[in-house]
Every structure is written in structure tokens, then in C-alpha cells.
Amino acid sequence: MYESTLINLSLFILLLPLLGFVVTLLLGKKVKSVFIFENLIIILTFFSSVYLLYSKLANFRTTKISSELEWFGFNNFITGTKLSINLGFMIDNITAIMLFVVALISMLVHLYSIEYMKGDERYNRYFAYLGIFTFSMNGIVLTNNILMMYIFWELVGLSSYLLIGFWFEKKTAADAGKKAFIVNRIGDIGMFAGILILFLTYQTFSFDKIFSSISSGVLPFNSDFWLTVTGILLFCGAIGKSAQFPLHVWLPDAMEGPTPVSALIHAATMVAAGVYLVVRIFGLLTADAMLFIGVIGMISAFIPATIALTQNDIKKVLAYSTVSQLGYMIMALGVGAYQFAFFHLVTHAFFKAALFLGSGSVIHAMHHEQDIRKMGGLRNKMPLTYWTFVISSLAISGIPLTSGFLSKDGIIASSMAFANLTGHYLFPIFSLVVALLTAFYMFRLIILTFHGEPRDIHKFEHAHESPFLMVMPLVLLAGLSIFIWYTPNPLNSEQGWILSKWIEKPTVFTPERSRFDFMKSSSDEENNIKQSYLDAEVYKEAMHSAHYPAMILSELMAILGILFAFIVYQWKKINADSIADKIKPLYNFSLNKWYFDEIYNKTFVAFTIGLSKVLAWFDAKIIDGMVNGSAFLTKHFSFFIGNFDKYVIDGIVNFTAYFNGFIGLLVRRIQTGKVQSYLALVIFSLVILLFIFK
């Protein structure tokens, strides 16, 4: 086994889905069964990624493999230098794990979709789009440089656009696709600006080269401040892609896409790309940037959680929970819980995919009914769906023995440790509140959907358990939400192989002065700069002391939430509606998603559209009018084309009229046809000339 084998393998993994896309798209019209090819491709991709993961962990667990080639370059003959823009791969354990996650969920969603999408008129095209998504996502995961990441970043945006708007006959779907793309672009502009700063400073896009330059003291514009700005700008990309506050508005709308797509793209993988991006650039984040990230993550965890409380669309609830969980991960990165953030990414990918696919199963059974108020009692009709859903919900609520517990608890513990170290106590408080809310709304969802009496008998009658291809992924993913895959000790994740062995500890390259205190390398460690702050004594101690309080508190919160959900919805001890009535303003605020869409529409969108209309008017009337309207030209246009008059009128009227009159006077009045007046004019002008030149 050589490193180059892995590189070749990853190239294979990257390009395979692209092949699937091209073939499926081109042949889709003619060959009805081409989707099988795409599915085979994705299965092959999956097994390749398993092999890659295995080889990486088995043979090169501690090495980072990277390779790059020149994409295009600029020779400078004058200075004799060459500027290369490279494409390249970097495979560390995180890459390998992420690749595995993407390939696995992608494969499961492919298989699931065979049934779910059956009968769709653009069946093959759907699979083609899944193919290009997988390709682009793999690109994001595998890259070793920020530009290439940006490229694939945009490409996943494209595939997301295509898939959200897959049923484009529905206006809401088409709108949602557009919204997703544009909102993402807002974040991307920030990211692009960050990339510009990086390139300007380091003349390279490669993460490693940038990091080594930073650690050797080269900073953008030679200031820590600009390093912070760069970090935040890059993070803007993550804000867009991971639907963080304030750009989270696109994700709930994205639920207009087919449900498997929501599972794959808008829950498990693509939205997690933002987290992945922050993981990749973690080394250049200063303390200020991290704080910013943490705050954004915290807000993003909280707001959607409150919104999810009141939503009635099964997918919307899950969507808001996704945003909330992504907020968790982002916050985790902000507080330095690097490994937990990534861990949560992985576990969340599995259980959230399971939840979405489960909801898809329900929706499929209910004939595309998504309103949970019309469901209920499905527990018996769809047992497999139900149980997998429950397991995943337990996982997301952070109940022990689930994977969610491992990662989520770690995050809460880290935020406590962080609070202890730096004094930012809002992080643990909010993360606990969110844990409570999460548990509540997830079980509200389960109870309303599966428990109780069916509320729409007609649809209930026709409901049935989904076919094998749809259930199998559910079971698999729910299975992956059990702790056993990650650690032998269900209560302490840090002893598990994934955290202790697989996920590399982060290295921080920013100047000492701009780090948090606990991240500073102590003087006796100078010889060993490679050591991560995670291994620093001070941090270890803080983590240790936070471990149990965090676990207890978070469990308390989760159980409280679940309990409360049961009280309100299962046992109906408290009437949900009456609570809603009592806190009507708050309820409406939550139901209407904090009015984000309305505010954005009234401000930014309205402003842009309004401005564009004003400018178009300005262009047609003023600019055009002015340029034509060196006035009499305008008149003359009208002389040619009668209807141009309106421009004259609308344009710069007075001047035109005046000038026209003047010319008319000059031309028309002088050439009277009377020879004597001509002669009088000649003599008159001779006298004038005499006066001028005397």
C-alpha cells in the first residue's frame, strides 16, 4: 500500500459519480433503466470509500497524505517566477471518515429513492442530479486547498438548486431552489473575499501552505485583526451553506425538494459542509474569530429550536432541528471543541438522515401529506419506520447509549469547560436550553405522528409500511445511531476509538497573542509545538471537571423535554392550544419563524428589486434620454421614428424644447426664400464681422 494508491483511489471516488452523472443525464431520455447504472456507480463509490477509510486507518493513521497538480499557471518571464493555481487532494482521517459518511448516506439515499421516486417523470434525471451532488460533495471533502473547496462548494450549491427545484412545476419548489442558491451566494461572497485575502497574502490556496506561512508569522496585511477578518469571511461561506443565522432562511424552504434529497443534502452532508469548512480552516482562526463563530452557532442553535416547537410540517420541524444541530456543531468549533464538532457532524449525519428518510417513509405512506396534525397512530402501521424514528430521536435528544449522546454531551461539556476557562457562560446555558427544546420538539413530532389516534382516517387507511429498499436504509442508519460503533464505553466518548485514535487533534497556527489563553502553548512545551491544545493540561483539567456536571445537566434537560412532550401531547395533561393562546405573541413569533423571511423580503429583497427598477427607469429615461438628448438629436430621432416622442417628453424636456426652438428658428426662419432678406442678412453679418474683428 502506497500513498499514491490512496490518492488514485480518492480520484476514482471523486470521478466515479461524475461519470454516473454524465451517463445518466445524457442517456436518461432514451434508456429508461439507466438509473441502475447510477446506483451501481454509487455502490461502487461506497465500497471504494470503505476501502479508503480502512486503508487510511490501517496503514497511514497518523500521516496526512496530500498530492497536487498544477491546474493552470502564470509564468512571469520578467521576474522568472511562476504562479501556479493547483488542484489537489489531502487525505487525513477526517477526510476519510467524511468521505465514508457521504458515500454511505448517498448510497442509502440512492437505494431509498428507487422506491420513493418511482413513477416520477424525470426519474433518471433525479439520479443524475444525485450523482453530480455526490461528485461535488466528494470534491469538498477531498480537497487540499480553499479554491478547490470553493469550486465544489458552488457545485453542491448547483446540485442543491437542481434538486430542491426538482419538481419545478410547483412554484414554491422553484422559489425555494432559487432562494437557496442566492442566499448561499451571499455567504459565498464573504468566503470568496476571504479567499482573496488569503491568496493575496500567501499566493497559494493550499491549506497546509497557508498554515505554515501563518505559523511563520506571515499575516494578512500584517495584522491579527485581518487574520480574524479572514477567518470570519471564510466562515461566511459556512453561514450560508450550513444555514446559520442570519442566512438560515433557505433551509426550511429547501424542504420543497424530494424527501430523500432533504435527507442527503439538507440534513446529512451538504449542510454539514460548512462545519467541515470550519474544521479545515480551524488552524487560522483567532480567538476573536472563534468567539464570533461560537456566537453565531449559539444563536443558530437557539432560534430554530424555538421555531421547531410550533411547526406542523414534519419536514419543517426536521429542517429547523437540522439548523439547530448545525448551530451546535458550529458553536462547538467556536468553543474549541473541534473533535466533538466533527464527531457530532458524523453522528448527526446518520440519525438525521434516518429521521428524514423516516419522515419520507411516512410521507410516502400518507400520499405526500406532510402536516403532522393530519397524522397520528402510524406506530402500528409502520413499525419499522416508527422504531427507527424513535431511536434517531433519542439520539438527537442525547439520551445515553446513542451516538447523539456521545457527541452532544461532549459539546455541552466543552462549552462548560470553555466557559470556565474564559468566562463566556452563555454558551453552556444556551446549549442546555437547546437540548431541552430539542428533546421536546422531537418527541412532539413522534407523538403527533405515530402515537394517538389517526386524525385523517382516509389517509390512514391507505398507509402501509414502506418497501424494503426504503426501510433498509432506515434500519441501517438507526443502527449507526447506537454508541457501539464509536466507543466501547457508552458514557465516555473520549475513550472511543473515533475520538482518541481517528479524529486528529487540531493544531492552531495563529500567533500566540491572538489565541485564547488556554490555547497558548506553555513555555515548557516549546519543543513540542505540534502538541494540540486539547492535550494541554489546563484544558484537560477543565474538561475533566466539566464532564459530569455537563452529563447530568444535559440528561436532565433531555428527559425533561421528552417528559414535557409526553405530558402535553401524549397524555394531554396540558392543552397545547391553551398554552399557545396564553403566550399568543410568542407562539406566533415562533410559528412565523421569527418573521425572518418577511423582514428580508421587506428590506433586502424589496430594496434590491426597487433599486433595480429605479435604475432601469433611470437607464431608459435619463441616461438614454441624456445621451440621445444632446437634445435636438432626440428631436431628430423623433423626426425619424414618431413614437420616440415619449422619450423626449420624459427625458430632459425643457432643454430639448428650448434647443429645438432655437434650431428651428435659425434654420426655418432664416431661409425665407426672399432674396432681399438674405441680402439684408449678408450686410448685417458683414457689419457684425466688422465689429468683431476691428
Partner: protein, 500 residues
């Protein structure tokens, strides 16, 4: 005065003699053979041909002719005058063909003798005018030219507009020449001489700059300005051009304008030149700010010409205004007051000759068929008369001054002269005028091609003479646009003006 000198001077004016002889031959022929007029064009063409030969032979001689007093000469047969004679001869040659083709002229077949006689009268007048070196000669030849053209402008006696044109022309012309001769009388009074060169030497000694002298100069300029129709002496131009028969209009717009410019240049250069700088700029007596005067004249001329042309619906009248505008451009070349500007003027004339006559020729051929000069009647002609329309487009584009037509070269040299003289603002104004002029020229093209064709189908009956002629006029417009060495060579060669 020595009779031998006189006889040797005769040698120099063979072209003039030929022209006058042809005139007489035509007159006699007309008197004798009252029925058969068909040979008249032939006589005319041969006369022109022979005169051309002699003119060409005169190139390079550069001699004064007909001296009197102490070293004063009436005529200067220099290359400058030969150049203009050539221009006049070529345009006359083409005008004869015009006349053969013109329906207007054709209908007065019994008066053809008169027509060609007067044409030669004009030619003779112009010939003397371009070599005139004396105020008297200038006056006399202008009158000869004018008197013939007055009659020709009203040649079709039954035509109302012919008559009106000729009346306006004669009154306007009479007053202009009257003012001019009054101005000349004042100059004579102040300098005691009518000879341009002698006046120059007098001005060198006595600085005359009082208002009387200025008045007299302006009066003479008014007379010459009438000939070349620069604003404000141009008022007759649109009316007469519109009224006169097309061949005469064309002739007036090219030949008579050329002659007028020749005499203007000579008047200014010979009378007022005090020296030439190293880079061949003229230094004139500071009687008046010559450059400002000429620049003002030319800018007003081209702007007013273009602006007025915008409003015209009659193509002939539009071309009249366009010719006013072109007079402005040409005058700008003179306003540079350098040999370079002069070259630009000469080049402009060669090209103007072809493009303007070409435009008038097509105008005439179409007018022959549709009996209208109205631009609106040209709608869709591009499809029924493709050749003529294409050629008309080329002539008009050349008049705008777009490459690769020769009109561009004309303008190019003009602007080269202007820029070299650092008259940038003037150049910009002139260029904007060019853009302006596009407007009305393109209107013709628009009607030819872009507008919906009229129902009627028009066909030119006899094309054996007209089409080749149009083609012959069109060829230089193209060739000189891409290869202009010959005309610049000719212009360069023709800079030689005899004088101080």
C-alpha cells in the same frame, strides 16, 4: 510691354484659348446647323480633352503671364492654378455627360447650343479666376463665370423653379459682386494698385490696419464667399441649387466652388503673406486675426449647413446644404494657414469632386425616372435599383467621411492639418459635425433599404452610359480610400503658388 513677351505668354494660356475657341466653335455650329444638335457634346468633350492636355503640359512651368508696369502680372500660371483647372476640366467633362443624361436639359434640345456655350463661358471664367493675380482679373472672371451661370441656373425657361433660381441668383450675385468691387475700389484707393503681389509689397512697407481697410477686405471676402457659399454669404445656395437643373447644381457645387476657393486662397496668400515659418506655416500681415476669422467662418458654415440639412426632405436641397457644410470643412483646411492645410484642401477637392458629383449623378438618374427629388420617394429603391442605390450609399458614406471610402482620406488630411496646428477644439467641433452629418446622409440610406418598398417598380431604361459613368465616379471613391498616394502626390505637387 513687349510684344514678344506677350506672344510667349500666349503659350501659357493655351488651355484658356482652347476653351474659348471651343465656345466659338459651338456657337458657330449652333448658328449654322440649327437642326442637328447631337454633335455638340462631342465638340464640348473634345474641347475639354484638348484643354486638359494643355493643362497637363503646363504643369511644372510656374510662370507669370501678361505683365504690366513694374513687374506686375495679371495671371500666374502655376501648378496651383493648373490643379484647379484640372479639377474644373474633370468636373466639366462629367457635367457634359450629366447634361446628355439629364431629362431637364434634354427637353430644351433646340437651345443646346446656348447651353454648351454658356458652360464653356463658365469654364473660361473659372480658368481665369484660378490664375488671377490681379483684382481686376478676379472681378472680371468672376463676372464671366457668374453671368453664364445665372443663365444656366434658369436654363429651362418654362420651369418655375428654374426661373426663380436664376432670378435669386442674379440679384444675389449682382449685389455680392457689387459689394466686392466696392471693396476692391477701397483697396485700390489705399494701396494704389490692383495687383495682388504689388499690394503685398506695399503692405510690407506701410502697415495698413485701419477699419476702412478691414471693411474693404471683408467686402471682397463677401464676394468670394458668395462663390464658395460660406455662411453668412450662402443664402442663395439652397434655393438656387434646388431650383437649377441638376447638372448645373452639380457643376456649381463642385467646379465653381473650386474656382472660388482657388481665388480665396490666392487672395489671402498672395496679398497678405509676410513670411513662411520653417514648418511651412504662413505668417500673414496682422491686419486681422486671419485664423480666427476663417475658423469662425468655417465652423459656422459647417454647423449651420449640417443642422439645416437635417431638416430637408428634398435630396437636392439636402445636398445643397451638405455642400455648404463641406465648404466649411474645406475652409477649415485653409484656416490652418499652412501648406499642410492647403494640401488638405487640395486633397479634399479631388475627393469631393468624385463623391459629390457621384451623389448628384445618382440623384439625377433617379429623378429622371421618378420625377422627384423627395427623400420619401426613395423608399425601398434599394431593392428595385440595387446598383444605383448601392453607389449612392457609397457616395453618401464617403461624404460622411467613413473609411474605407475616399471621403475619410479627405477628412483625415484635414484633421491631420488641424491637429498639427494644435487646433484641437476646432478639430473636435469638426468631428462632431461629421457625426451630425451622418444623420441626414444615413436617412437616405434608411429610406433606400430599411423602409418598406413602395409598390411601384422602377427600372432605368437606358443604362449604357449612365451606369458606367456612375461606376467611373464610384471607383476613385473606393480606390482613393485605400490607396491615396496618387492624390496626395498630386496635391503635394500642386502647392506651388507663384507670388512673393
Amino acid at each position: 510691354m513687349n510684344i514678344n513677351n506677350f506672344l510667349s505668354d500666349i503659350d501659357l494660356i493655351y488651355p484658356e484659348i482652347i476653351l474659348v475657341s471651343t465656345l466659338i466653335v459651338i456657337l458657330l455650329y449652333d448658328l449654322i446647323f440649327t437642326k442637328n444638335k447631337r454633335l455638340l457634346p462631342f465638340f464640348s468633350l473634345s474641347g475639354i480633352f484638348i484643354a486638359t492636355l494643355f493643362t497637363i503640359l503646363n504643369f511644372g512651368k510656374n510662370e507669370f503671364a501678361f505683365g504690366y508696369g513694374s513687374n506686375n502680372y495679371l495671371l500666374s500660371i502655376d501648378d496651383f492654378s493648373n490643379f484647379f483647372k484640372l479639377i474644373i476640366l474633370i468636373s466639366s467633362f462629367i457635367i457634359i455627360h450629366f447634361s446628355i443624361l439629364s431629362n431637364e436639359i434634354k427637353i430644351c434640345i433646340d437651345r443646346h447650343g446656348e447651353y454648351y456655350t454658356l458652360l464653356f463661358g463658365m469654364m473660361a471664367g473659372m480658368f481665369f479666376l484660378v490664375s488671377a493675380n490681379d483684382l481686376i482679373v478676379i472681378y472680371v472672371s468672376i463676372e464671366i463665370l457668374s453671368l453664364s451661370s445665372y443663365v444656366l441656373a434658369g436654363f429651362v425657361k418654362t420651369s418655375l423653379r428654374n426661373s426663380e433660381a436664376s432670378l435669386k441668383y442674379v440679384i444675389y450675385g449682382g449685389v455680392s459682386s457689387g459689394i466686392m468691387i466696392f471693396g476692391m475700389s477701397l483697396i485700390y484707393g489705399m494701396t494704389g494698385s490692383t495687383n495682388l503681389a504689388e499690394i503685398n509689397s506695399i503692405l510690407k512697407v506701410t502697415a495698413l490696419s485701419d477699419i476702412t481697410f478691414l471693411t474693404s477686405i471683408l467686402m471682397v471676402l463677401a464676394g468670394i464667399g458668395f462663390k464658395i457659399s460660406i455662411v453668412p454669404f450662402h443664402f442663395w445656395t439652397p434655393d438656387v441649387y434646388e431650383g437649377a437643373p441638376i447638372p448645373i447644381t452639380a457643376y456649381l457645387s463642385v467646379a465653381s466652388k473650386a474656382a472660388g476657393f482657388a481665388v480665396l486662397i490666392r487672395f489671402i496668400k498672395i496679398m497678405f503673406l509676410s513670411g513662411i515659418t520653417n514648418n511651412e506655416y504662413w505668417v500673414l500681415f496682422p491686419i486681422i486675426d486671419w485664423r480666427s476669422l476663417l475658423v469662425i467662418f468655417s465652423i459656422i458654415t459647417m454647423t449651420l449647413g449640417n443642422l439645416s440639412a437635417l431638416w430637408q426632405d428634398n435630396l437636392k436641397r439636402m445636398l445643397a446644404y451638405s455642400s455648404i457644410a463641406h465648404a466649411g470643412y474645406i475652409l477649415l483646411g485653409l484656416a490652418v494657414l499652412s501648406n499642410q492645410g492647403l494640401t488638405a484642401v487640395l486633397i479634399y477637392f479631388i475627393i469631393y469632386l468624385f463623391m459629390n458629383l457621384g451623389a448628384f449623378l445618382v440623384l439625377m438618374l433617379i429623378a429622371n425616372e421618378i420625377n422627384s427629388e423627395d427623400i420619401d420617394d426613395y423608399k425601398g429603391l434599394g431593392y428595385s435599383l440595387p446598383f444605383l442605390s448601392a453607389m449612392l450609399s457609397i457616395f453618401l458614406i464617403s461624404l460622411v467621411g467613413l473609411p474605407p471610402t475616399a471621403g475619410f482620406i479627405a477628412k483625415l488630411y484635414l484633421f491631420i492639418a488641424l491637429v498639427d496646428a494644435k487646433m484641437i477644439v476646432v478639430a473636435v467641433i469638426a468631428l462632431l459635425n461629421t457625426v451630425l452629418s451622418l444623420y441626414y446622409y444615413i436617412r437616405v440610406l434608411k429610406n433606400l433599404y430599411l423602409s418598406k418598398p413602395n409598390e411601384r417598380y422602377i427600372k432605368i431604361k437606358n443604362t449604357s452610359l449612365s451606369y458606367p459613368l456612375v461606376f467611373i465616379l464610384g471607383t476613385p471613391v473606393f480606390v482613393f480610400g485605400l490607396y491615396f498616394t496618387p492624390i496626395t502626390d498630386l496635391a503635394k505637387y500642386s502647392l506651388k503658388i507663384l507670388g512673393i
